[in-house]
């Protein structure tokens, strides 16, 4: 679906940002509108997606996992094999090309797990753009490997010590930088959140996942899947794979959020499952907030899902019932992680492991002639320390 003129998906979306940024968003939107119909721009995006990012990523028939679960046939959309190790490269590449066209030579980004930061650092190195990445102190600690990767590619990583020291605070700080330097800087936002036009623009760049998957599943099985399962942090990998299937009402779409230490504990990041409507980071959407409208602290074992907001289009899809949102806790996600390691020899990102766990349970309850596609949004190398710590195994 397309948002309305003001960037709303139903009642969600909009532009709740300081006046300083409104003309900047207008400029971005105007440029994007032109490029959206510019064949040369998309030609470059596609050619770099192929030769730089390694697309199309495979759709893999996960026989080992299927056999283990004993039910539906499972396919994995292998975003873990994309350059820099996650789907984040699709959006970073698209916006990087856009920024270059707009003549903005300084790129600001936020990162949680570090995957978006690494993807942005890579694209900036490739396109010759200056790159500043904001990252919460807690995430710098738990994703140390990615911090080093970013620095190797020439990015400046700025540690954010305010608030909960995670993704939410990194976004606050990135917005502050952007308000200050908007004339020469582009904010390369990493998910389908934020003020319009970001939710739609990021989705357009990520929907390459779903377009490929649609063709691949038809080629491999002669039909469309019955279920598509993806993890939801801000929601970009999920919307990316859902989008080309939204109109196929019979396909069930499932979004898996982080239940952290359990929904009852209050220490989770299940925004759509347990949140309510509010305004954060420039958009009206579901939020985790207290009764005073203050944003709650979140928790998830995976930094990329540890965020109290979610993209406005997801809020719309939840209310409309088109997508079902569920939550998987830290322990279950670890189980999902180990399951894929052992049955397939593939180490998923902890974010993706949430989707793996849910899909594994789902597969077991279905018939063998049914098909599930899981969006394996990233690879797990970055999470080794956390997994080892959680399993009590010293490295």
């Amino acid at each position: 679906m397309q948002p309305d003129k003001k960037g709303y998906f139903g009642e969600y979306g909009g532009r709740f940002v300081p006046e300083t940024l409104i003309p900047v968003l207008d400029e971005l939107e105007a440029n994007y509108r032109v490029l959206k119909n510019d064949a040369a721009f998309w030609g470059e995006f596609e050619s770099l997606s192929r030769d730089y990012s390694g697309r199309p990523t495979p759709l893999y028939d996960a026989e080992g996992m299927t056999g283990h679960c004993g039910g539906a046939r499972i396919f994995l959309k292998r975003e873990d094999l994309a350059h820099t190790g996650a789907h984040k490269i699709n959006n970073a590449l698209g916006q990087g090309l856009l920024a270059r066209k707009m003549g903005k030579r300084r790129i600001i980004a936020e990162t949680g797990a570090g995957q978006h930061g690494v993807a942005t650092a890579a694209v900036c190195a490739k396109l010759g753009l200056k790159c500043i990445v904001y990252m919460g102190e807690e995430d710098v600690r738990r994703q140390a490997l990615n911090v080093f990767r970013m620095k190797l590619m020439g990015a400046e990583v700025k540690t954010v010590c305010g608030g909960s020291r995670t993704l939410k605070d990194a976004i606050n700080e990135a917005i502050r930088d952007w308000v200050t330097n908007a004339r020469d800087s582009h904010y390369l936002l990493g998910s389908v959140v934020g003020p319009s036009p970001y939710p739609r623009m990021v989705r357009d760049f990520q929907s390459i996942i779903g377009k490929e998957a649609r063709k691949q599943i038809k080629d491999k099985t002669g039909r469309l899947p019955d279920y598509i399962v993806a993890c939801v942090g801000g929601g970009s990998n999920a919307i990316g794979i859902y989008h080309p299937f939204l109109k196929d009402e019979e396909i069930r779409l499932i979004g898996v959020e982080a239940a952290g230490k359990g929904l009852k504990s209050g220490m989770h990041a299940a925004t759509l499952v347990a949140g309510s409507t509010g305004i954060l980071h420039g958009t009206r959407s579901y939020l985790l907030q207290d009764k005073e409208g203050q944003i709650k602290q979140t928790h998830s074992i995976s930094a990329g899902l540890d965020y109290p907001g979610v993209g406005p289009e997801h809020s719309f899809l939840k209310d409309s019932g088109r997508v079902k949102y569920v939550a998987v806790d830290d322990g279950q996600a670890l189980e999902g992680f180990r399951l894929l390691c052992r049955t397939e020899g593939i180490m998923p990102a902890m974010e993706s492991a949430h989707a793996i766990y849910y899909a594994a349970k789902l597969a077991g309850s279905l018939n063998r002639d049914e098909i599930i596609v899981i969006n394996l949004s990233g690879r797990g190398d970055k999470d080794i320390d956390i997994v080892a710590e959680a399993m009590g195994a010293g490295l």
């Binding site: 003001k6 909009g14 532009r15 709740f16 940002v17 300081p18 006046e19 300083t20 940024l21 409104i22 003309p23 900047v24 207008d26 305010g162 608030g163 939410k168 605070d169 606050n172 917005i175 502050r176 308000v179 200050t180 330097n181 908007a182 004339r183 509010g278 305004i279 954060l280 980071h281 420039g282 939020l287 907030q289 009764k291 005073e292 409208g293 203050q294 944003i295």
Partner: protein, 262 residues
């Protein structure tokens, strides 16, 4: 005519507007300092309702908001505080807050309770006029002035929209950036104000980054009012906080009056 309009209609002087974060360093301190601000020469006081994610604020106000929230300051407390202040203070009081706390409180109820307690206006930095219709309709009905902001990046078209819809005054952000003290202000501030003045007779007050009497004087020579926040918050941290805040405000007052008489 609203109570805020009165400040500017007097025309004897330029307005001095002070910002404090409610609950910083404590609720009691806010109750004590606001009457002092009025006595020392402020014409309007902005009361910041602390929010967990103040994206338009620099380090000083972020830290004050964090501390105020640690002290348990809620929107309800802020409204209650105004009710209490009204026994002593007659100058206009304006709430400054992000949209989510207002939204969550209930827009209608927030405006109603605020007006009833004695609040005269509201500034919501993350709500541009494009998104403001609901709050605008309700606040006006209740008699609360919704003050919109302009920035150095605002286009001619946006300036027209903001000057048409802003009530009380127009809040001109002096720099492209967040709140917080700065060494120097936008060099073309005079031009900016003159440009806006061509389109409206509503008062224009300038804020963000003003931290010295010299800067206040410079701003007062072109605009109708000067807004000072972070520097006051900084002084609130010090030991002799009330004394130094009052001293600073008096200096600002003199500097602004100097600009007016020259």
């Amino acid at each position: 005519m609203s109570c805020i309009d009165d400040v500017f209609k007097k025309k004897r002087k330029k307005a001095l507007i002070a910002y404090v974060t409610v609950g910083y360093p404590s609720i009691e301190a806010t109750i004590k300092v606001v009457p002092m601000l009025a006595e020392s020469g402020c014409d309007i006081v902005e009361l910041g309702i602390p929010f967990s994610d103040p994206m338009a604020d620099g380090a000083t106000i972020q830290q004050a908001s964090f501390c105020a929230r640690q002290n348990g300051t809620t929107p309800k407390h802020c409204i209650e505080l105004v009710r209490q202040l009204r026994q002593e203070v007659s100058i206009p009081l304006v709430f400054m807050t992000y949209y989510n706390p207002v939204f969550k409180y209930g827009i209608e109820k927030f405006c109603c309770d605020s007006v009833e307690a004695g609040v005269n206006g509201i500034i919501v930095p993350d709500m541009p006029p494009d998104e403001g219709f609901e709050l605008e309709t309700i606040s006006h009905k209740q008699g609360l002035d919704l003050i919109y902001l302009l920035a150095p990046t605002s286009t001619a078209e946006r300036i027209e929209m903001v000057v048409r819809r802003s009530r009380g005054f127009i809040y001109l952000v002096s720099v492209t950036g967040t709140t917080g003290a700065r060494e120097s202000l936008t060099t073309d501030l005079g031009e900016l104000v003159t440009g806006i003045k061509k389109k409206t007779s509503k008062p224009i007050c300038v804020g963000f980054g003003i931290s010295t009497p010299q800067q206040a004087e410079q701003v007062a020579s072109v605009a109708d009012g000067v807004i000072v926040g972070s520097q006051i918050i900084k002084l609130m941290q010090a030991k002799d906080n009330f004394k130094s805040v009052c001293g600073f405000v008096k200096e600002l007052r003199q500097a602004i009056d100097r600009a007016w008489s020259s």
